[in-house]
Amino acid sequence: MKWLLVLLIVCCNATGDLLDASGMKRHGEVCDFRPASIVRLIWELAQNPWVLGGIAAMAVAFAAQMSLLSIADLSFAVPATASSYVLETILAKVILGEHINRLRWTGAALVAAGVLLLQA
């Protein structure tokens, strides 16, 4: 049951992050953080289908994570679900066309190894 929830969380997180990243790039850089502007931003994002889809995927992941936290320790739950970002770094290159230089690959690989060790 634990690992089934982990799988669900990983898939939904990857989908959610990709949709959010695409949606926010389409929206453009957020650079005004006055309260009125934040309210307007939330209103704009509420009409952005990419961001909405991303948040929906995240909501499923969130419910699954709540369930996981109710039956497992934080130190199991969090690193287990963290493995999703390995998949996501590859997807960011393939789907979003990000240029990942050697320094970033090295850093991402170290983080990946660290996450695996966290589960030890």
């Binding site: 991402a108 983080v111 660290g114």
Partner: protein
């Protein structure tokens, strides 16, 4: 405040600030959620109504509010930074979660897990040195 930031040094500083916000909100949010969900007891169901019931726990409420703040900061960060930059950098949160789980919840953290914390921190520092945005 309303101008688009183009100076690479400023973009890096702005990205670091938002990444720190995401990390703090997620670590504290997850901590409060765990405390709350352990109080509520096992809840694994597809019935959404059961999740409304857990919202009566104040720890769950505060945890959820912090995770919402983290989501908003994460979306803002993604509006200018690469996903492949944001992910490894905010993964530092998992290292902090292990530290917090050890320090606050009294969870056992093995030597292997401490090595994981060190590797994640090192990896995030390396990714933090790359240019946050590589797409046009």
């Amino acid at each position: 405040m309303t101008h688009t930031v183009t100076d690479p040094k400023l973009i890096r500083r702005k990205s670091a600030f938002f990444a720190a916000t995401v990390i703090c909100a997620n670590v504290c949010g997850n901590l409060l959620l765990t405390a709350g969900m352990h109080q509520v007891g096992p809840t694994v169901t597809v019935q959404l109504i059961a999740y409304l019931h857990v919202l009566r726990n104040p720890f769950v409420d505060c945890g959820t509010a912090l995770l919402a703040l983290g989501l908003f900061a994460n979306l803002s960060l993604l509006s200018w930074a690469d996903l492949s930059y944001v992910l490894p950098v905010t993964a530092t949160g998992y290292a902090f979660s292990a530290i917090v789980g050890w320090a606050v919840l009294g969870e056992h953290v093995s030597r292997g897990r401490w090595s994981g914390v060190a590797l994640i921190t090192l990896g995030a520092i390396l990714v933090g040195r790359t240019q946050p945005r590589t797409t046009p």
